[in-house]
Symmetry: C2
């Protein structure tokens, strides 16, 4: 086996892990993983507004908006007008949404466990710690360090507000 670049290896792993799981979720719940992710973000933050949500979502606001309207149409999420600001509304998960999560979340956890079953228990703990360290560093310092060393890197730095995933 040729030596792999570690970033590529990461991408491969997540792709291999996510793709089959994604299929299951679509079959069982009629939701793609992105929609599920948005559902969870709303569920965990009752009353979020769109802008906050979109910043956590890792895809475009436009995409988030469309996913959200599908969730609302499916009655998994509802929205209320904000009393103070008529431009905003607050998002809430519905009972139906909660019910769906009660089925979906254990399945997600079971799938993750299955993937991590390749590792010894303490290795698993260590691995997750390392991942936290890495994502933290990437979100916080990487781009800055990169442009310091390579001024031509062309840092974009647009949105920010990452590292709040789910």
């Amino acid at each position: 086996m040729l030596q792999q670049s570690f970033t590529y290896q990461l991408a491969s792993i997540s792709e291999d892990a996510i793709k089959p799981a994604a299929k299951m979720f679509e079959r069982r719940f009629g939701l793609d993983v992105q929609a599920l992710r948005v559902l969870r973000l709303v569920g965990d933050q009752p009353g979020v507004n769109f802008t906050t949500l979109a910043a956590q979502t890792r895809f475009e606001r436009s995409a988030t908006s469309r996913i959200l309207s599908r969730l609302i149409k499916a009655a998994l999420v509802r929205r209320e007008l904000d009393e103070c600001d008529a431009r905003q509304f607050r998002l809430f998960i519905t009972d139906k949404g909660i019910e769906l999560r009660q089925q979906a979340d254990p399945l997600s956890l079971a799938l993750e466990d299955l993937i991590l079953s390749a590792l010894a228990p303490d290795e698993r703990v260590q691995f997750r710690q390392t991942l936290d360290k890495l994502s933290d560093w990437l979100a916080r310092a990487f781009v800055g360090e990169l442009t310091r060393r390579y001024p031509d890197a062309g840092a974009v730095l647009k949105s920010s507000a990452r590292s709040k995933g789910r």
Copy 2:
């Protein structure tokens, strides 16, 4: 910070790590990371044929074919007809391609080092070992185990020939 699913976290990390690097490579060498990857695969396996290459590439044969023809047009790769089988040809990196790699590869390594600089030296070693374990297991056993536990997972299992990345 909300708790993240580990697969999602992996995807985020690789995306954050790859995107800025990708920009640099495009500016400096006029090659996107995929083309660079193909160039490396060819360089490391002088005389590969297209089918073998495409299996290692993680994208469609059609995409691989187009990338390859760009590399050939740019004179970074050349091809020879196979003596035994007129359908096949054998691929080789050119001197110009080697030269490009001599610039690009150290940069890749430096970038990976930069990313991993967030980790202590022994943590780094451990991390890479864990990644190897994981990708190995995913390539070898995951899909089988998944369909055993969840017969509705809808395993596809089309190509195979993975775990030979670069």
